[in-house]
């Protein structure tokens, strides 16, 4: 288990006024990316000190590496190679050698420090500079336990990302997914949890039962998922702290496709009764489910809008799978997908502006559309891409890609341009990712 989190943003002394004569920009238009050159040198320490996570000098290099990887993986930044960067003295952290950095071609500069405090915590300072304007753009300090040094690094990367893009942060977040191994006819599936960059990976279940489709509760202390425990496929809630699982609805039918409401009070799920599958809602603590759909077809994969007022879901009531939106009480069901082919696994963006889905036709592709069905766009093109999940800022989608023939799946991410597609590292194969909100 992680230790309880203490992550405090410290107020570093206010920064200087910013001149506005430079014009640096990153253009991503028409699907052509030109990432911003950025320098992220090793972060010095005022005094090398041992911590539970290694000494502060070593941590300074590791923090810079994590910040570098986050920004690079966003597709919007082109960090200069670490080996090419000049060392930064502690006294230079707040007084950069701007002429020296100008000659590297970097347009932005991230400097910082790692300091051991008397109470056993670390302070990680994070400063962002405009190299050509020779000005400071922002600064943040983070106090963490040594075990949480990566979170400070992700927070620093989030600070840089939000300041330069105007978009919300997403690096300080986690993913729950299904780790897979074994032959195609008998895959072993285990719940696993990790940071969004694949670090701090941990298995939650032992693989004795098939587990599918995990989703975080808003507070991320519980996960709802479907398990074949005792050969009865049903929806459970898993408590991350205790490792215990609890059956949500105790009755004989198959329940699956669970998702929390944005306030965490409800779980919406599907139940198959004599071959007919409808969507139900139940209190997250259990009780009697309320039926939300009554069509004779398969209604599943419900996903709440971020305000909790509406639910997008898939239904084959018209023949093939299509996307529908209804009010959270089941009223006013309206079909929103009308392109060629079928549509499944809709997921409402945490920003509310888009719905991601799996487009079925030939293969599987990841796509997005507005909640009214307009603006459909396909983001990926492989044999089988399935199961999108949104980054906390609604700018990146993670999904799983299954290989033709092998049946082996792994995790990928893609941004809304469809250009920046990346493999997400996992120790084994992976499927059914669910990206949690920003960590508290």
């Amino acid at each position: 288990m992680r230790s309880p989190l203490s992550l405090l943003a410290t107020a570093l002394i206010a920064c200087a006024a910013a001149p506005a004569d430079a014009q640096i920009r990153v253009d991503i238009t028409g699907g052509i990316a030109s990432p911003m050159p950025i320098a992220i040198p090793v972060m010095p320490t005022p005094a090398t000190a041992a911590t539970a996570a290694g000494d502060t000098a070593g941590l300074g290099a590791q923090v810079a590496q994590v910040v570098t990887n986050d920004l690079k993986n966003s597709g919007l930044f082109n960090p200069l190679p670490a080996g090419s960067l000049r060392p930064v003295a502690f006294t230079q952290v707040t007084a950069p050698d701007f002429p020296g950095w100008t000659s590297t071609g970097a347009q932005a500069l991230v400097q910082g420090f790692v300091q051991a405090n008397g109470d056993g915590t670390l302070t990680v300072g994070c400063y962002l500079y405009d190299v050509f304007a020779q000005s400071e753009l922002t600064r943040q300090g983070f106090v963490v336990s040594p075990a949480n040094w990566r979170r400070a690094a992700h927070k620093c990367a989030d600070t840089v990302y939000t300041r330069l893009t105007g978009e919300g942060p997403y690096f300080d977040s986690r993913v729950v997914y299904v780790s897979e191994t074994g032959p195609k006819t008998r895959r072993t599936k285990r719940l696993a949890i990790m940071d969004q960059d694949g670090a701090n990976h941990r298995f939650l279940t032992n693989g004795q039962s098939i587990v599918l489709t995990p989703r975080f509760a808003p507070g991320q202390q519980t996960i709802t998922y479907m398990s074949y425990t005792n050969n009865r496929p049903r929806v459970y809630v898993y408590d991350v702290g205790s490792g215990r699982q609890r059956l949500v609805v105790d009755q004989p039918n198959m329940t699956f496709s669970p998702r929390f409401s944005p306030d965490g009070r409800f779980i919406v799920f599907s139940m198959a009764v004599n071959g007919n599958t409808d969507i139900y809602r139940v209190s997250a603590s259990g009780g009697t489910p309320q039926r939300l759909t009554t069509s004779p077809g398969i209604d599943s994969s419900a996903s709440y809008s971020p305000d909790g007022a509406r639910i997008v879901f898939e239904s084959d009531r018209s023949g093939g799978q299509q996307l529908y939106v209804m009010n959270a009480d089941g009223s006013n069901q309206q079909r929103i997908s009308f392109g060629g082919g079928r549509y499944g696994t809709p997921v409402w963006s945490p920003r509310g502006d888009l719905i991601a889905f799996t487009k079925i036709g030939g293969g599987f592709r990841i796509g997005i559309m507005a909640p009214d069905g307009s603006g459909e766009k396909t983001l990926t093109n492989a044999w089988q891409d399935e199961g999108p999940t949104w980054s906390p800022n609604g700018r990146v989608i993670m999904f799983f890609r299954t290989g033709q023939g092998s049946g082996k799946a792994d995790l990928w991410s893609v941004d809304l341009t469809g250009v920046n597609e990346r493999r997400v590292p996992t120790p084994l194969d992976g499927s059914d990712p669910a990206w949690g909100p920003l960590l508290p």
Partner: protein, 182 residues
């Protein structure tokens, strides 16, 4: 269309959201996809027991056992067309023999497993497997087997018997398997 974000110091980062805006212009009129054409599974069902039997020598099968059931019924498995849950004539012949055997051993309870091929999304396939298991169950019930003797479970696309990504493998994986206790 591009959305530009100006920073206080003059750094600008343009984020392309053109795709969303332009795609909005090409929205197609409502159109329903016609049902997929019937595939091999529609016409081949029967002889293929798709490896679900336990491999016991049928000649030596203990009466009332799983091996006996498979030997007498001809197969524990019926197959379905793509996205279909219909019981075709081949499947009917197998289920009729399964029903005859179940009448002979009225104390035996069975579980029907429903499965789907890999070309559907995970959750849809769970529901589809449930439909197929219930389709077979309903047939057996109509043939006189008490529904209380038959439980169902769907495995969706989680437990294929054929590992290829081709029509032949998919046809074998779209199945309902009647499982008699060992």
């Amino acid at each position: 269309m591009t959305q530009s974000v100006s920073t206080r110091a003059g750094l600008r980062l343009l984020l392309g959201v053109a795709l969303i805006a332009t795609a909005a212009c090409s929205k197609k009129p409502p159109k329903e996809l016609p049902p997929p054409p019937p595939t091999a599974g529609e016409t081949t069902g029967g002889g293929d027991t798709s490896g679900m039997n336990d491999g016991s020598a049928t000649g030596a099968a203990l009466p009332g056992s799983r091996a006996d059931f498979i030997a007498q019924a001809g197969s524990d498995t019926v197959l379905f067309g793509t996205d279909m849950i219909d019981i075709d004539s081949t499947a009917r012949a197998i289920l009729d023999r399964q029903a005859a055997w179940l009448k002979k051993y009225p104390a035996v309870r069975v579980t029907i497993e429903g499965h789907a091929d890999e070309r559907g999304t995970r959750e849809y396939n769970l529901a589809l497997g449930d439909r197929r298991a219930n389709s077979a169950k309903n047939y057996l019930a109509a043939a006189g087997i008490s529904a209380s003797r038959i439980s169902t479970i769907s495995y969706g696309k989680e437990r294929p018997v054929a590992t290829g990504s081709d029509e032949s493998a998919w046809a074998q994986n779209r199945r309902a398997v009647t499982v008699v206790p060992q």
